[in-house]
Amino acid sequence: MSGNGTTPIIEVDGIATRFGRQIVHEEVSFAIEPGTVVALIGASGSGKTVLLKEIIRLLRPTAGRVRLFGEDIWSTDDERQLSRIKNRFGVLFQNGALFSALTVGENVALPLRESMRLPPELVRSVVELRLRLSGLDRDVAAKMPSELSGGMVKRAGLARALALEPELLFLDEPTSGLDSINARAFDSLVRTLSDSLGLTVVLSTHDLETLEGIVDRIIVLGERRVLADGTLSEVRSSDHPWIRSYFSSRSE
């Protein structure tokens, strides 16, 4: 996947993570090119979510460097530089993490209202656009998050993540808790957005159909390191026992 002169949008360099005496990662390194859809897979407890949190600057790694858009995010505490970086990526949390006190529309409008001054009617039309891009009807905007189904919560979370036109999207288990029809629809939505908008997407998943359907590249985490890294067929042909049982247990 490397090459043709483009600089990686994400560089993870020698990440190590320890919680007390428990070692989660020892030496995790990879780089991600713009415009690709990359999946992080691994057994439960292999530190996928932890790694995502370290990349989006929610959790400080014990050692190692993370560069987003070429900037080392852990070496600076400059609020303005960080918020500039943060406005360039969006995150969909595992359970949506919609603010329960706000309507769906207000949730999507929040990043717009916080980081730029726009007249209300423009905010409204951008919110509608975001909801439409995420495959939601506009009447969802007036609903409270508690009134939404699981699939709609994910879509609303995606709409909020897309609010500021990010170049980079992080999805933590985007299809968990969705039925397979909804999960496939969500997958194709992600792929469409990535193809049309040139979005780079990093997702953690357990869903084999997502891997087969929309992913350009797979990074397998396990045994505290990267076990395999490549396209689906390259990873599938790996002879690591966990990877073999992962694919054989699910595809048959």
């Binding site: 529309g105 409204r124 951008v126 509608e128 891009l133 007036a142 409270m144 049309s196 908008l197």
Partner: protein
Amino acid sequence: MTRPQTHYLTVREEDGKVVLELRDTWRLASLEALAASVEGLCATRPVRNGKKVVLDGSRLEALDTAGAMTALSSVERCGGTLAEVSLTGFDDRHRRIAELVARRLGERGEIPLEPPRLDPLQRVGSVTLRGLRYFVRLVSFLGECLSGLASTMVRPATLRLKECAIQFERVCVDALGIVSLVMLLIGIVVAYLFAAQIEKYGANIFIVDGVSIAMARELSPIIVAIILAGRSGSAFAAQIGSMKLNEEVDAMRVLGLSPLRVLVLPRIVALVLAMPLLTFVGDVVGVLGGMVIADRYLDVSPATFTERLQFAFSTDHLFVGLSKAPVFALFIAVIGCLKGLTVENNTRSVGINTTATVVQSIVCVILLNAGFAVVFQELGI
């Protein structure tokens, strides 16, 4: 032919088609200026229906979805439709963005971001109805709890003793410190108040009657109830509410456990037992506080104080206070548990219900106390 121009957008007509040429960067960051250009264009240009509208992106430097939306809105302003718009000169990336947005946007309309506002009359009505419904719910829940307690008395084995003991420790043993401190201070303050008045008549010894009766009949039950409403009632609502939110209450029902038996009754039993005990502690500590003040400011020695106490303080006063305590406890526990069980499926609801528990419990305790005062007065106790 008119040729209105702005920095971002120019219009020309070619072969009976309206061509909108986009220039520069069309991005979210400059959305306001873009929207203004589209507005300005439409103000100077009469809308003519029936003409084909073409978007020309050959001089476009950057485009994102918000920019594409604004560009497409200019098409609609010129009388075109999103379904029939044709794009020329866009590079691949921009064309894909514009096509995606055109496809997804469809017809536009106003979307309400806030929940609809009710007019004042509707609000009064909806608040009243909600209050009435809640009252009915509270009474029926009280009934459920009492019938649950009654059936537990018939078959004591169904009472979850371990849970009762845990709750009792939390609501009673752990509250001893705060209750003693508060009641000691209340006793001292009340004694000061009496001392200042009684001294004028030289009726120093009556400090004993005043402090002991006030503490036992009114102050101790009320203040202990208020402390427990804030301390335990709110905790009941928060604990049960977060369990409800985490679907633990549903899991219990599915496993054949009754939340009433597992969660509610132990808490009620624990609080009903704890309240009289804590009230008694409050009585004793409060009178001790009064004794200290009597000794220091009124020359009533502790020995004289106790002697007078035996003579002046009939146990009726004590029992009046102690008989109110379990009733207060019942209502505090029932309100707390009901508020916990009626938490809605969002995190904010836990906070709202916890606050409501404290407010309603305290109001309820004060109302009940007023009722008791009337009843005891009429009975002459």
